[in-house]
Amino acid sequence: MKITHKHPVTFSLESAERYYENTPALNSTTISIEQGERVAIVGPSGSGKTTLLSLFNSTVQASSGKITLLGNELEKTSGKTLKKIRSKIATIPQNLALVDSLRVWQNIITGQIGNRGFFGNLIDLIFPSKNKILKIHSILERLGIDEKLFATTSNLSGGQKQRVALARAIYQNPQAILADEPVSSVDPARAENLVQLLNQISEEENITLVMSLHNLELAQAHFPRLIGLRNGEVQFDSNPEELNESKFKELYTLSEREILDDGE
């Protein structure tokens, strides 16, 4: 049966598998995510969430299966096209990957690193144009930290750093944002605030948002689609209303062996 989509597909996996030295991290997985969709990937540590996100920006290659990113089938894609595709997919990693010694605007301007050559990036980092600074300022204003534009990143709080990482993703002008447990190291209030903000931006700008989360309540409250992973297999893929308590319990109840193995 051929699946039809209302909107263009951002990410599509067909029977994709990924092995790390004969150990499966992701078993035959078929997932399709449309443009503008907001999806939370949930599951215990070691369930394959990070591997799935890494397949979505092609930083990890599938061992088998067909992967399509932004309408481009990866197998038929040249290195140059892959770079272009990647420049349209923003990533917010768990550790945020900010350079502490740089100013806030410098960290944000690197969001466009994939669209500029070496010298273009060098000029941006040393002599940015007024328009670029104004654009960065407007993004920071939207995120509520515009007064930190010229601050040194090391002097920011954890919550402010998260917003800088988000601002860098927005400045990239992406078609999709991949966020790998970006709220795992902050308090619940800040976590909720950031998830809310990400959802709001993604909705307003029609950006596809795929976020891996440990916090099930957050995922249920803010995402219209949840994908549950366990042992590299999709346990469920539906909207939160369709999921009952037992499904979640099943997802997070670990065997003794799994507890001893402890995650990815």
Binding site: K83, K84, N95, V99, I113, R116, N121
Partner: protein, 294 residues
Amino acid sequence: MMGNDNNIHFNKFPIEQIFSRRRKVLIGIAFIAIVCGPLIGLDPMRLLSGNNLKLAGDFMSAALSPAMDYENPVPGAEPFLITVVKSVLMTLRFALLAMSVSIPIGAILAFFSTTTWWPKIKNKRGLKLLLMGTHIISKSWIAFARSIHELMWGLLFITAMGISTTAAIIAVSIPFSGILAKIYSEIIEEHSREVQKLFRSIGAGTLSSFSFGIIPQALPDILSYTFYRLECALRTATVFGFIGIETIGYRIKLSSDEFHYHEVWTYLYVLFGTIAMLEWWSRSIRKRLGGSEI
């Protein structure tokens, strides 16, 4: 009660522990030093014999009253303090020139001796061979350049080219560029690759993701070490004065040969002041870049 306490104290430190293995080794080293000292002509008593103690005393007491003028003025000679300033500037010029040659060479060697920036070379045999080749050549050159002290290079180049600043600068630049390259590459490899990985994931090329993902993180440490090497270059420039290059060392040697210790101390204090100023400058730059303040 006191007796009991003493007993407990004694029991805690039995005699075998006083001569523990580590202490025996230390005693052995001290014994070897005492025995070998005379064999290499080490004779601390010479300090006390003849005029030596008086000279040492004169030298130390001159530290309290550094010269503001020549101790033995020569008619028509430029003022002493002008000579001091000129010799410091000459030393600084020498050190800066040596560093301005060493830094770019060191940076290039560091770049080729680290694998941090390498692209994925799984299926590219030619590229792999080229990268491995430059890597091995850089590493070998760094090891060779560092293995010979700048004074040895100095003697070699001065013998070949005569006493000239150019010869001395080449002599300093060879080991210094090797040392800088080694430390730069180690600093680069110690830093987190998370930002570099992120930049690659959003489409950056190999050079951009390395240059903007690793170098800004490493820069405070690189600058800190570069300033330390500049200090070393200043000291080396001073020592090169003793083999005829007209730095502050040359002036120290002339004054010392004439037993003008007050002049010597003036030069030493000015040298100390210059290094302290460099340290202060380096600290303020590191602070601005958000690096360690050590």
